[in-house]
Symmetry: C2
Subunit: 250 residues, 2 copies
DNA sequence: CCATTTATATCGCCC
DNA sequence: GGGCGATGTAAATGG
């Protein structure tokens, strides 16, 4: 069977089950009352409570409270997870280096532990990303402005990368920055930096921020700096072959 | 008992267990072979494989593959999770609005399902954040530069917030931007934006970026724009009362 | 390995 | 609720 469960193990039985799971590369899920301590980029402490703990064979460790999308504490893959008994409690310790961090979980009561010998060869397929937006713009520059020609994609500059370097109908160079989501002031900053850099060699250069939307504050910042905003909400997702619905409608 | 398990339920038994868990506000963990579809800000599809599914009473839904820190698919809290039977399979559907998104998981084989009636009243306590760095600087401005006086914290400007507005020994205004981590080009952008804005009313204004470190590229950008970099690695974490180690050393 | 950029970013704050 | 900035951001990508 792919999943095996031990109900309410004592610390010794828990540590034995956890060690066996780590050795065999299984995914471990634990329901327990525990306290958690984090030391690393910051320091943190979580007092006793009921949580779901998950340890994966790649070193991933997650502590989930009963609410919230993000784990309250975690360790990304690449480190190690160990199970030990200490002062009568089972303890799970997840560690890594670079940066040096550790999450230590003291389990005061283990309600149950599940070992899952999971096999998963599938990879996630996604469409609608910023990379696809770039492809769309490269193929359809006239959607941004009549007569616009793309000269270069991902052009490197002294201070960073420009999404597109283009030329308008009059032959004036145009620096284009593309965002898949609503434009922020940081995006405005980025574009301004590239334009000012290019202006050192050609002060006729124009700057263009392309995004599905932008706040008034961002639009004002662009206007005040003679930069263009182009609203591009749809970029032919269907045409790019968005994954067809594979599951029956609910 | 806080955790209850059903081994290898058929679709009907699974849906019944899931509905009971959702009704009672329990955390549900499922080991299953399943396929997953996401529709929302992008579209995605994940073919059949073994995964750990977690549904929380606040509407959080997670799909975890056997490796990796982040769930391959998820829904944040605030939405709803439903369990249904469809074409002989159990199906979990997580939905929300604003933005309108859905994760649909078709369970081809359920290895087991655990219901966890978790009680957790604790909140995570953290120290070493950027907010604490601000407090430290406000109390110790001389660490940045001899004679520096903080005039205002989080000063609002037309284009955004300045971390500190200060005055140096000569009475020249100084705009200070603080980062807890290594400074990036975006942080340089931010500072430059504030300084240029302030320069409209007083062109003597100075700009200062405070961070534990910065890449050469960032330092060069700062130099080229007559902005200062102040390296501030330690900011009295201990003095601010970092949480004492609560757990025995491992 | 370092630096940069993206993300279904999420989260929290304040208007 | 929108706008804006921080995050133990993590992860991918390129040098």
């Amino acid at each position: 069977m792919a999943a095996q469960r031990v109900e309410a193990p004592d610390p010794e039985a828990f540590v034995e089950a956890a060690k066996a799971a780590f050795r065999d590369g299984a995914v471990l899920s634990v329901q327990a009352r525990c306290e958690v301590e984090y030391e690393g980029r910051t320091n943190g402490y979580l007092d006793e409570g009921d949580r779901l703990l998950v340890a994966k064979p790649d070193g991933t460790f997650l502590v989930h409270q009963p609410t919230g999308h993000k784990p309250v504490n975690w360790m990304p893959g690449g480190g190690t997870v160990e199970a030990r008994e200490s002062e009568g409690d089972a303890v799970l310790l997840a560690r890594r280096t670079n940066p040096s961090e550790r999450v230590e979980t003291r389990l005061h009561e283990v309600y149950g532990v599940t070992r899952f010998d999971a096999e998963d060869g599938a990879t996630y397929e996604e469409s609608g990303t910023e990379a696809e937006m770039h492809e769309y713009i490269e193929a359809n520059p006239e959607e941004l402005e009549a007569g616009l020609r793309i000269v270069e994609h991902e052009r490197e500059t002294k201070y960073g990368f420009v999404d597109f370097y283009a030329v308008d109908d009059d032959g004036t160079p145009v620096v284009v920055e593309v965002k898949r989501i609503q434009a922020t002031l940081n995006h405005f900053d980025q574009l301004k930096r590239y334009v000012e850099l290019y202006a050192e060699s050609n002060d006729e250069v124009r700057g263009m921020l392309v995004a599905p939307s932008a706040s008034e504050r961002v639009k004002r910042a662009l206007r005040d700096n003679d930069l263009d905003f182009v609203e591009l909400a749809e970029f032919g997702l269907d045409a790019k072959g968005a994954t067809e619905a594979k599951l029956t409608d609910f």
